[in-house]
Amino acid sequence: MKSAEEIKAAIEAAVPGAGVEFVPNPGPAAEHSLRLAPASAVAVATFLRDDADLAFDFLSNVSGVDWPDREIAEKVKVARTVTKTVDGVEQSVEETVEETRKRVEPGCLEAVYHLYSVAKKHGPLVIRMKTANRIDQVELPSLTPVWRAAEFQEREVFDLYGIIFTGHPDLRRLLMWEGFKDHPMRKDYVEPDDYEYEPTPHDHVLKRAQERRAAEAALGTEGLRGCGTNKRETVNYEL
C-alpha cells in the first residue's frame, strides 16, 4: 500500500483544490492520517473508493473525538514603555519585558474514519475531519452516500458528540432516547445525580455523598426527588 504522503499526492492530483493535510501520528503505531477539508470531503472519499490502485471500498470504523477548549499560557517578550529611575531622574524608557499571555484555543469535534480495501487487501488509511468549533458550527459532510457502513456509526457520533452530518439520509439519535438533550461523550458532560451512595464511600464518591446528604438534610428527600444537585448546562441544537 502507498504511504499516507503518497496517497495525499494522488488525491491532490485527482481532486483539484482538495485541501488535504497530513497529520503525523507520534507513538510506536505510526498510523498517520489525512485531514480533509469538509467542502471537498465527499469528492475525495469517492475518489478513494473508486480509484483502481487505492480501491478503499471498505469503511471499517467511524469515531468521534472531542477536543475541548484549551487555555494556553505563553510567555511573550513585548516592548513596553516603563517609568524607571535612571541616575536619580524619572524617565520613560523602552524595554523588552516578558509577559504571560493567556489565550483560549477553541476546541473542535473530530470525526475519524478508518478505511480498508477488500479488493486489494490493504489498509488502514485514516482520514479525519474536524468542525470549526464545539458550540454552533458543528456540521460535517456525511460520507454515508459513499460508504453505507457509515450510516449507523455517524448516527452514533451525532448522538454522543453532537456533530451534525449534512447529507445523512436519516440523522437521529441511535443509542439514547429521542427526548434526550445532552451529548454524553463530550468531555464537559455532567452526569445526572442518581448515584446510589453505598454505606462506605471514599475519595470523590465520599465528597459527593456528603454534598448529597447535606442537600437532603436541607431540602428533604422529597425536595430532591427527580432532580440532581449537579449543575449542568444544556446546549440546544437546531435539529
Binding site: N25, P26, G27, P28, A29, E31, T46, R49, D50, D57, F58, L59, S60, N61, S63, V65, D66, V112, H114, V118, K121, P124, V126, T144, P145, V146, W147, R148, A149, A150, E151, F152, Q153, P169, R173, L174, L175, M176, W177, P184, M185
Partner: protein, 390 residues
C-alpha cells in the same frame, strides 16, 4: 445491472431496493417487534411496517443495553477496562480481550512472547467454536426446533467453558489477556484436558450436521431467504461469516496475519448465494477449520515466558499517539481505536462493534419477506446486544 451503469452507481451503498408498493387497499400495519421478544437475542427493537405478512419497512432501534462502556473507559486505566471488554460480546469474552490487548500493544509498541501467541490462538479458536455452535442453536430455536439443537450446542459449550474456568477462573467473563502477555500460564494437565475436549469435537460436528444440514425444514426455510449481495456487503462494512457467506474472501486472520496465524494451515469457507443457509453452512465449516487450528496449536505450543519482560504493568502510560487494532472475532471484525495523551487513562476509547455494523443491511435483506423470515434473517446475522449497544 447493465453495462451502462457507472462503477460508483453500482457500488453506491445507498442503492436501495425500491419500496414495495402495497397491493390492494388498506393501511400498513406498524408493529414494534421487541424490545421484549422471544426471538430478538436480547433487548432490541425493530419497527416493522407490514403489508399483510410482507415487510415494507424495517427500522431497527438500538440503545436498550447502552452501558456507557466508552465513557467508563475514559475514566478508568487501560488495564481496568479489560474486564469491561469481557462484557461486550458476552458469549466470546476471550476474543474481546485479545482484540483490546492487541490494540494496546500496537499503541504502546509491545512484543508478545511465543507461548502467549499460541495460548491466544487456542483460546480464541475454542471461543469461536462455542460461539458458532451456540449461534446455530439459537437460529434453530427460532426456526421452531424448541431447544433441542441448542441443548446439543450447549452441551459442548459447557465442556469448553470448563476449560476456561479451570484456566482463568470464570466461565464467561474471563479477563485473561494482558498487554504483552496473559495472566496465568497453562499447565500440562490443562493442555491434556484441552486435547481430550478437542478430540471429541469432530464427532459433535458430525452429529450436528447429520441432524441439521440436510433437514427438509431447514433447507426449505433457509435457502433463498435473506440474500445479501457481495457489493452491498462490502460497501456496508459487513464482516465475519456474513460477508464470507456472500462470497467475499476476506478473513482478517489471513489478511492482517495478526498473532501467528500464518503458521497454521486452515481454509476459509465461502458461500455462493449469501442466504441464511449459506451463513449456517459457513459457520459449520468454520467450526471444522477451527478444530484443525486448535489441534495444530496444541501440538506446536513451545515453552517460554508468558509476559513480555519489557512490559510495564504498574504505571502503564503509553506514549501519546493513536492506534487501531482489529481481529477476526467470531461475529466479524472487532476493532479498538485508542488515542493516548500520555496519561494512565485513554483519551479516546472506541469499540468498532461488528454486530451493529452487520445490522446496517438488515432492512435490505428483509424487505419483501414475511415476518417469520425476518426472525430467521435476524438470527443468521448473529448479534449480541452487549456489542451493538456497548
Amino acid at each position: 445491472m447493465n453495462a451502462t451503469e457507472t462503477k460508483s452507481e453500482r457500488l453506491d451503498g445507498w442503492n436501495r431496493p425500491p419500496v414495495i408498493a402495497p397491493d390492494g387497499e388498506g393501511e400498513l400495519l406498524e408493529v414494534a417487534m421487541g424490545p421484549h421478544h422471544p426471538s430478538t437475542h436480547g433487548v432490541f427493537r425493530m419497527d416493522l411496517a407490514l403489508d399483510g405478512e410482507r415487510v415494507v419497512r424495517l427500522k431497527p432501534v438500538f440503545g436498550y443495553l447502552h452501558r456507557n462502556h466508552e465513557k467508563i473507559a475514559e475514566q478508568a486505566s487501560y488495564l481496568a477496562s479489560m474486564p469491561y471488554t469481557d462484557r461486550l460480546d458476552y458469549i466470546c469474552s476471550l476474543t474481546n480481550n485479545w482484540a483490546y490487548a492487541l490494540a494496546v500493544e500496537k499503541l504502546a509498541g509491545q512484543e508478545v512472547p511465543e507461548r502467549v501467541q499460541y495460548i491466544r490462538v487456542i483460546l480464541g479458536e475454542l471461543t469461536r467454536i462455542q460461539n458458532h455452535a451456540s449461534s446455530i442453536g439459537f437460529l434453530l430455536q427460532e426456526m421452531g426446533a424448541s431447544g433441542t439443537p441448542l441443548m446439543y450446542a450447549f452441551k459442548e459449550r459447557e465442556k469448553i467453558l470448563d476449560l476456561f474456568e479451570s484456566l482463568t477462573g470464570s466461565r464467561m467473563m474471563c479477563n485473561y489477556m494482558r498487554f504483552g502477555g496473559c495472566r496465568v500460564d497453562v499447565s500440562a494437565t490443562w493442555l491434556d484436558a484441552a486435547r481430550k475436549v478437542v478430540a471429541g469435537l469432530p464427532q459433535f460436528v458430525d452429529e450436528f450436521e447429520t441432524l441439521l444440514s440436510s433437514n427438509e425444514i431447514l433447507m426449505a426455510r433457509c435457502q433463498g431467504v435473506g440474500i445479501l449481495r457481495p457489493e452491498l456487503a462490502v460497501n456496508a462494512g459487513v464482516t465475519g461469516p456474513m460477508l464470507r457467506a456472500s462470497g467475499v474472501d476476506y478473513d482478517i486472520r489471513k489478511v492482517d496475519r495478526y498473532g501467528i496465524y500464518d503458521r497454521f494451515k486452515f481454509r476459509v469457507p465461502l458461500g455462493d448465494h449469501g442466504d441464511v443457509y449459506d451463513r449456517y453452512m459457513v459457520r459449520i465449516l468454520e467450526i471444522r477449520e477451527s478444530i484443525r487450528i486448535v489441534e495444530q496449536a496444541l501440538n506446536d505450543i513451545p515453552a517460554g515466558p508468558i509476559m513480555d519482560p519489557k512490559a510495564r504493568i504498574r504505571g502503564f502510560r503509553p506514549k501519546p499517539g493513536e492506534a487501531y487494532g482489529r481481529i477476526e472475532a467470531p461475529k466479524g471484525e472487532l476493532g479498538f481505536y485508542l488515542i493516548s495523551d500520555g496519561g494512565p487513562n485513554p483519551y479516546r476509547y472506541r469499540v468498532r462493534p461488528p454486530s451493529l455494523i452487520n445490522l446496517t443491511v438488515l432492512e435490505d435483506m428483509c424487505l419483501g419477506s414475511n415476518v417469520a423470515d425476518v426472525v430467521l434473517i435476524f438470527g443468521s446475522v448473529d448479534i449480541v446486544l452487549g456489542e451493538v449497544d456497548r
